[in-house]
Point group: D2
């Protein structure tokens, strides 16, 4: 039974807490949040202790930590967790700054603690099925990947300002998906974008609608389209075109109902947002984290993989300025 | 090149004329209709001759006839065609009266002319695919057939009055479909129905909404649902449930488009009616008729098969009155 | 906080236990099972007490009971629960015998305790969406209901022998669905069936493939098709054809993936069985039970409604013998 | 009745001939082909005359010409047709060379004859529905267009060599689609590509797998993906993402059948190639051509529009070399 400390009692923290409470091999030992009331409420619901942020890992017999607090706290928490020897699952991004993110990966490596980053979409059953199908080799080599990813509504302007921008905040999930599927580093990144949804996003220096093209050294191409707003729900789709077949994941919906009238057949919109779409992915990611700490060969995305997607996001930003293919570097 | 006389220049006659005109092995030799203007117009469009009904088959070097005139003329036309030795494709029904229909089949048999009846749905590519799949044996034995068949709008009351009633006029297509798929005669027929769509239909002594259950001696079951009105187009669907799989044909639509909005995804209604849905089936049925006259082993539904579906319809009518399983007899 | 005693620590009991444990307004107070080990294991997982069957309701401050033990125990447990004044959610069927089931409903009524029966499909989100759409009146009056319900694999022969037969054991769910949707009692029931799947079922005097037609006094028709075996998963579909539209619920699947190759596009089979398909329905049914005990106007299916579906099942059995429409009586 | 001369008795010429023969307002007056036998066979089938290429327009009372001969003949045929004052429908491309294509447009303009180019996909019912939906304004402004276009199998190497390359030969259809939907000229074009399908294509200096991104001055983005090979049929799909909705056209298939087994549900692959997918589009394009010559306001793509797509293709070629956004110029 692994004792897990949860840092962050917000929206995502609550998902982790519920999944930990139901997990046969893990225990929600403590909840930490700068908002002591939120921590107490969540801890109370599952019979866990609370700890203040500055003494988060002091006392308990802890094995692991899940970091689901605000991005600017990740770096210090990873340092502290590594110092305590805890297995780490950190929500993305490790850090908006590539250098600090690298430092986090390094400190975990030096401490010999496993560091995983919460790219939960790898655990979505539909995306996983696509991945497994492609990896089985039954469809031949990958030639083109198409990723569609659209949020239901733009975030508040103040969120945008500190988000790191669309490429590091939103598209980074799609870049991780591309890396995971490709099993190969793109050598060229092209990006374009515009502010079509909300002028406040443009005023904050960001785009809200973007297209990115990745290409590997062998010529495999990947296109990603992002929008900060989508009328028909949370649009999360994936197509992998291979030499002898296509593997494709569509959106999920609340029901399997359609209604036929003279207008045609109306089926449900896509699920509203990530809490609904990735409910199962969060659970399966936690399973993988716990299993990996217990020695399973495969876990969530590694810290090193998180750096790769961050490098792609940074290259996309450069391309948005330069109007040309950029190399993500190493 | 087969010389074909077309009797009937109405809606279905025009389809046959266009298909004959485009056929590489057949020629529209003459058009016959009680409405001389209609005959002339259709004949003119394709460079064919016209003949008056009483001299329909007198003069020309004819090989075959397509009978697409009103039902009450079918019997005499079959007699005359058989006497001339013409191959016959007669629109369904041969006759509303089972005895007269039997006489038509017999006279053709005695004259040694092939007599086919226009159960065109056998040539719908989707239904044909289901048939071929089921007949291949890949899915194991048939256990349950489900047929959904709904017209877009009720016919005029005066049509209903002379239609022979829902079972002989409308459901007979579905009964032929069941017979064709089963390759076996049902031994029991149950029917129920009501007048839910148009009171005028009830006043004419008919039902507009009906459910029929067929069962074979081996226990295979077939259910048919009919309605004289359907808001979302012409509903023509089929499911064949077999021991190791399901073969299913859905409706066709005008486009492959769907529109996603906050309400969900709206796709097209079913095609409006039989002219659209069975456009291809009419063409393929004509191909089969011409090929069969040329010696191909398989043609459209035979006269004998048409009698079988008429017997099922008659049994359904008896069941509607008796409230019990009826035998279709022989 | 409602204290709930769970009777039955089997497959369905474990679902109820997990849902109770996660419910904000209820508490799993005690687990009862003839298998003391099973009871102890389940109770231990959620910090509940165990009670022996003969002292199930003796000591605790209990508010409600969920009866998920074998069918032959339901009658006595309902009696005992009613005597203790507990709100009751009893898995279907109340009893295989109509008279004993009536007695259970009566004793609960006399004791003034609410008695609900676990027709969980009413809480399936897809079926619920169909129900809400139909009840909204937007599609006009119901004219025809079509229910397809097929289990993935036949049960063991000894289960069949004590199951009460296909109509009381399996189709009763579909009959409840019909009653719920119709909001009206059918006045006529027709049934046919055969043993096509497993001869052992026929030897036990039962059928494994059945078709039932219900009709109300206003002429609305409902057809149900059942099979004890289905190659492509647990087939649970519903169509409600109304005067101005169709509301339709399809099967759910494990993912939204399809794979395109030269053979075509392959999507997932239906979910394997009821634990997967109705996972959410069990949870929502429990919510409704707890809410109804707290005064909400609508709860799960009532005992009286359970009697209605049992009467329909009994009428179907008579029809299977008689080959004619039977009245379900009152 | 318009007298139309058809130049080219090949695969596409035969489609035009059949559609002309069935058209109520047009007549296939003459067929011209360098292969006199092919011309005679096609002309004979529809009762048309034949003309030798050097005297194509000499004698007949002609109103219009359809140019479906090899690309290198287009320029001279347009000149000759314009000189005769014929309305022109020329298969794409006008010419592989932008300067010569411009000259063709100019000569037609100077002669005052209407010149249309066969971008037949504008008449595909599904794409037309998307166009109409988007143009209705119901979905708000266009933000992102995604076009997927994959041929079933790579062309022979010698075809590739004289094809003008993927961008001018194949993607030009998609570029026209983008222009038509956008109703606006992209100001930037980015292209990447590789040879992943057939090394012979690479040896001929071309790519077989390409991704293009277009952007307009207002920031609207369009991505196109092309492959010269597709296992699951001819992949022709379109999505237009707008401020308040998505309009999407999927592939068509031979039937509406799916087969359910333990593996899942298998539906049909996409139609095999353009003759099947765009059968209806060719017919509707001809209708529009005939109607436009008769004064209808809208016809097929104009010569000027064809130049625009050719400029985009040329810009894509430059971008493929430069690795950066290129301007299509004017």
């Amino acid at each position: 039974m692994l004792n897990v400390c949860l840092v962050g009692a917000g929206r995502i923290g609550r998902i982790h807490a519920a999944n930990l409470a139901a997990h046969p091999d893990a225990r929600l030992a403590a909840v930490v949040d700068v908002n002591a009331d939120a921590a107490a409420a969540l801890a109370g619901q599952y019979g866990a202790a609370t700890r203040s942020p500055d003494r988060a890992f002091d006392e308990d017999p802890l094995d692991a930590v899940i970091i689901a607090s605000s991005t600017d706290t990740h770096h210090d928490l990873v340092q502290a967790s590594a110092a305590r020897g805890l297995g780490i699952l950190c929500e993305k991004p490790l850090d908006l700054d590539l250098e600090r993110a690298c430092a986090s990966v390094q400190v975990a490596a030096e401490a010999g603690v496993p560091l995983y980053v919460g790219f939960n979409r790898r655990f979505d059953p539909s995306f996983r099925r696509v991945y497994d199908t492609v990896r089985s080799g039954d469809l031949g080599d990958i030639e083109v990947i198409s990723i569609t990813s659209r949020d239901p509504a733009p975030p508040p302007a103040d969120y945008v300002a500190r988000s790191g921008g669309l490429f590091r905040d939103m598209m980074i999930h799609d870049l991780d998906m591309a890396l995971w599927l490709l099993g190969d580093q793109p050598t060229s990144v092209f990006a374009t974008g515009a502010c079509l949804v909300d002028p406040a996003i443009g005023e904050a220096g960001d785009v809200d609608t973007a297209t990115v093209v990745l290409q590997t050294s062998s010529g495999v191409q990947c296109q990603v389209t992002n929008s900060r707003r989508c009328s028909y729900g949370y649009d999360q789709r994936l197509e992998v075109f291979c030499a002898s077949g296509l593997a494709r994941a569509g959106n999920d919906a609340a029901t399997r109902v359609d209604i036929g009238t003279a207008d045609g057949f109306l089926s449900e919109p896509a699920l509203p947002f990530f809490l609904e779409r990735y409910e199962r992915a969060y659970r399966l990611q936690l399973d993988a984290f716990i299993a990996a700490l217990g020695g399973a060969p495969e876990g969530p995305a590694s810290g090193e993989e998180a750096l790769q997607s961050l490098r792609l996001a940074a290259a996309a930003e450069r391309s948005l300025s330069s109007g040309r293919f950029e190399s993500p570097g190493e």
